[in-house]
Amino acid sequence: MSRKIEDNLFKWLTTLLALAIVLLSTGILLMLTHSSGLSFKEFGLGFLGSSEWDPVRKVFGALPFVWGTFVSATLALLIALPISIGIAVFLSELSPLWVRKPVSLAIELLSAIPSVIYGLWGLFVLAPIMQLHIEPFLGRHLGFLPFFKGYPLGVGMLTGSVIISIMIIPTISSISREVLSSVPGHQKEAGMALGMTRWEVIWKVMLPYGRVGIVGATLLGYGRALGETMAIAMVIGNTPKLSVSLFDPAYTISSVIANEFVEAVEPLHISSLVELGLILFFITFLLNAIARFLLTRMKRFEGVRI
């Protein structure tokens, strides 16, 4: 065989396999759409607005799960974002060199711990602490707000959010750190020359310079938070109801799929669960796409592992 043919064969082989990525992505979209057809036909767009979920009566609505997913992920982001930026600032500006490596490693290892282990720890360690100390404290001092009314149960929206926030801290902080370290030295020096304090350089020069990248990191963290399953299924209480109080148990898209998929035998039930999965797929796909777009806009970022 001539080498030209060999080379072309090899090129075609790898190209064909690369096509598998495209097929896989479209396959996921098509299969999920196909399998949720039954539920879509039955409930239409009302699926999103209905808060009833009753497998016995075969009535299914997505609202409590969509609500739970967004509230828990958004709250998790509110907790994780300042801490992550703090870590990023510490690692890129404040820490002595010998501290930098072990601290980055420790924080990145947080992301290697499997989700079920966060759930186990959350269920047996965090939930009792929340129930006995943190939630009563919040209730006493901020109980006039609707978010902190009600009986402290330990398992619920707030505990779920705290667990997810721990899980997304490594994602946001490691990318933000890369962004901050990519700020050119002359920008910082210019700030110093204008008489800024070191903090003002960070706040008024570095953070605005890295804005796009930090927003990308945040969206990526938000996507993770929305898709998180095992940890949240173990601590959020798994009750499909809409409540403003963060102490109350809630439910998320991913945890209802995890809990009910095996037991679902009714085709409409399965189809409704798949439709929930499709909604989750769309949202996370969109967030990832935007995050990726923002992060690649920062040219220096080519090598960063997202």
């Binding site: 990525i21 304090t197 903090w199 998929f261 997202i306």
Partner: protein, 279 residues
């Protein structure tokens, strides 16, 4: 007046720097709190039986998790069989031939697949394999895991191949070695250890996943080695034990957590130190 303003600015700086230190301390202490607690609770449950024996029913003490340990290895092994060779070759495509619109599309989709929630991979495996086979199976579980591993391997392979110097390729081509052989024998083998790092990280991630296995590989209280039968895995069994009401099972959950976290952390630390040594 200006002195007062300066003091205010200085104070802001101190407050913000302290909060930044505090954030870093929170991050590290969380790691130690979680690992320390898992170790403290889990170490009592680790003995030879844990690794060698099958689970016992509720109320019967003793027994182990051998079915879940073997099951996890099996599922990961099967998933690797698909995802490693395919992932590496796609990485080769992207770094060696990947220019133009199609390559950008593949790159984009790889990135977004990397962010795919594990549970969605599970649903996909369910609709593609469990429904047609009318049965939960190890095969479906492995398929779900391989979807999660693939993007990690593709991305790390592409990045590492791009780091291989051009001179090496040119030298090999100049010797009259065909391009495909140059890629396989020279480029891939130069980047071998780095690619291995990516593989270890992918395996570590998939090894800890429970969500996509809940309704694909399901679980099994017995030892099973058939790909078309349900199979136990460490993360799933951990979950089932953790949410059960039995104290004895909780103990087993902690012991499994210790084993799982030990394997995953050793793998990621090895992979990372390997990667940083190379740079």
């Amino acid at each position: 007046m200006s002195n007062l303003r300066y003091r205010k600015r200085k104070l802001t700086q101190d407050v913000m720097f302290i909060s930044s230190y505090v954030s870093a301390v929170i991050g590290i202490s969380l790691l130690f709190l979680i690992l320390g607690y898992v170790f403290y609770k889990g170490v009592r449950g680790i003995n030879l039986d844990f690794f060698l024996r099958l689970p016992t029913p509720v109320g019967v003490s003793g027994g182990g998790m051998s079915n879940a340990l073997i099951g996890s290895l099996y599922l990961i092994g099967f998933a690797s069989l698909f995802s490693i060779p395919i992932g590496i070759l796609i990485g080769v495509y992207l770094s060696e031939f990947g220019r133009g619109a199609f390559a950008s599309l593949v790159r984009f989709l790889t990135e977004t697949l990397a962010g795919l929630p594990a549970i969605v991979a599970g649903i996909f495996a369910y609709t593609v394999i469990v429904i047609p086979m009318r049965k939960f199976s190890a095969l479906a579980g492995s398929f779900a895991l391989s979807i999660l591993m693939l993007p990690i391997i593709v991305k790390s392979t592409e990045e590492l191949l791009k780091m291989v110097p051009r001179d090496l390729r040119e030298a090999s081509l100049a010797l009259g070695i065909p391009k495909w052989k140059t890629i396989v024998k020279v480029v891939l083998s130069t980047a071998k250890s780095g690619i291995l790092t990516g593989i270890i990280l992918a395996v570590a991630r998939a090894g800890g996943e429970a969500a996509p296995l809940l309704f694909t590989a399901l679980g099994n209280s017995y030892m099973n080695l058939y790909p078309h039968e349900p199979m136990a895995s460490l993360p799933v069994q951990l979950y089932v034990y953790a949410v059960s009401p039995y104290e004895d099972w909780h103990q087993k959950a902690w012991a499994s957590a210790l084993v799982l976290v030990g394997i995953v952390l050793i793998a990621s630390v090895t992979a990372r130190s390997y990667a940083s040594k190379r740079r």
